[in-house]
């Protein structure tokens, strides 16, 4: 009995035949090479370190924001003054850090298997709680008076509303008087 051959099957088979040859040729000739193992290990380490660093940075900046609100805070009836002089770049950078961290988290395998919205809410809540907890422990008061953070805290406390680079090149100078 004669077997019926359809044209689609012929096209598919020719694709298959060519593909195997083309791909293996590229591999054997060295045109296509496997990326080394360390490339993936380094990528994974950098990704994790980047995520941890971003989250730590976000906690620190959230804490700094809480510290500044407490120092200049609306509780003393100085809301308008606080809004005028508050260094808003600190919470903005914190939020950007969180967004970048979440974007990085999406690259991990588990992100689509779990409830990602819940993970995001968990991360944001943890960052805020950690910032409040550091404030509660009074660590930021210690940091603002001693150690390597002292300068940053004091600068932020007496700072301009926005740094020069956020003012399109116009740096605002305040008189101490």
């Amino acid at each position: 009995m004669q077997k019926k051959i359809n044209s689609k099957q012929i096209t598919l088979d020719s694709h298959k035949l060519n593909m195997e040859t083309i791909v293996m040729e590229k591999i054997k000739s060295g045109k296509v090479e496997m990326k080394p193992r360390w490339y993936f290990v380094a990528g994974s380490i950098l990704m994790t370190a980047g995520f941890v660093g971003l989250m730590a940075g976000a906690v620190f900046l959230v804490n700094l924001t809480i510290f500044l609100i407490r120092k200049r805070g609306p509780g003393y009836g100085r809301l308008e003054m606080m809004l005028d002089s508050f260094p808003f770049w600190i919470p903005i950078v914190a939020v950007m850090g969180i967004i970048l961290g979440i974007w990085m988290l999406k690259k991990y395998d588990f992100s689509y298997k779990k409830n990602f919205h819940l993970i995001v809410i968990g991360i944001i809540t943890s960052i805020i709680i950690a910032g409040l907890f550091i404030d509660y422990l009074g660590l930021n008061d210690v940091w603002s008076h001693q150690g390597i953070m002292r300068r940053l805290y004091q600068q932020s406390e007496n700072s301009n509303p926005t740094p020069g680079w956020m003012k399109n090149g116009y740096e605002i100078r305040y008189n101490d008087n």
Binding site: K8, T11, L12, H15, K16, N18, M19, E20, I22, V23, M24, K26, I27, K28, V32, E33, M34, K35, P36, R37, Y39, F40, G43, Y112, K113, K114, N115
Partner: protein
């Protein structure tokens, strides 16, 4: 040495990584047909599907050291093919829009065997009428015999979403086949 046919994909990958590149030919043999068919349903053009699969094999080889052998190789390579196909689809803007007339919440469920039969008989016509977000899981489930978990891994969506999309795709399928 075990015969190649007896080796699992993951063991084969281990050998390719540590011993010889030539064994990659076996991977191509195992997956070219499946991936050509899968890419064909996505890009709806045989030549483009062949390009997609060829590029998928090249990318898979380049990134072979990044594959975790404790996971399923099939899901991994299907994922690469999916990404390549999506690139082509986005490039050529050939995504079929969801037919607005179709009621997704009809609630009528068809027998799987009937769906399978319909898909095989009128696959191209039916799938062409559907949005790729529904046709893709349907293709993977019925035509490529992938489990919900594997489909989730390929499309990077939760298993619950896979189930919902397949269920909706079945309803759409029924409407389309009825119309036909």
């Amino acid at each position: 040495m075990k015969h190649l046919d007896e080796l699992s994909d993951e063991k084969l990958v281990q050998k390719i990584r540590s011993e010889e590149k030539e064994l990659y030919r076996e991977i191509i043999k195992r997956y070219e047909g499946k991936l050509l068919r899968y890419a064909g349903y996505l890009v709806r053009d045989e030549d483009k599907a062949a390009d997609v699969v060829q590029e998928a094999f090249i990318k898979a080889y380049k990134n072979l050291n990044g594959f975790n052998i404790n996971k399923k190789f099939s899901s991994w390579i299907y994922r690469i093919a999916h990404n390549e196909a999506m690139n082509v689809i986005n490039k050529h803007r050939k995504t079929a829009l969801l037919n607005e007339e179709i009621d997704l919440n009809s609630g009528i469920d068809l027998e799987d065997d009937l769906i399978k039969k319909e898909l095989k008989e009128h696959a191209h016509y039916c799938l062409d009428q559907m949005s790729v977000i529904y046709s893709e899981p349907l293709t993977l489930y019925f035509l490529e015999s992938r489990s919900y978990e594997e489909i989730g891994d390929i499309l990077r969506i939760p298993m619950g979403t896979v189930a919902v999309r397949i269920s909706r795709a079945k309803a759409i399928m029924k409407k389309i086949c009825k119309k036909r």
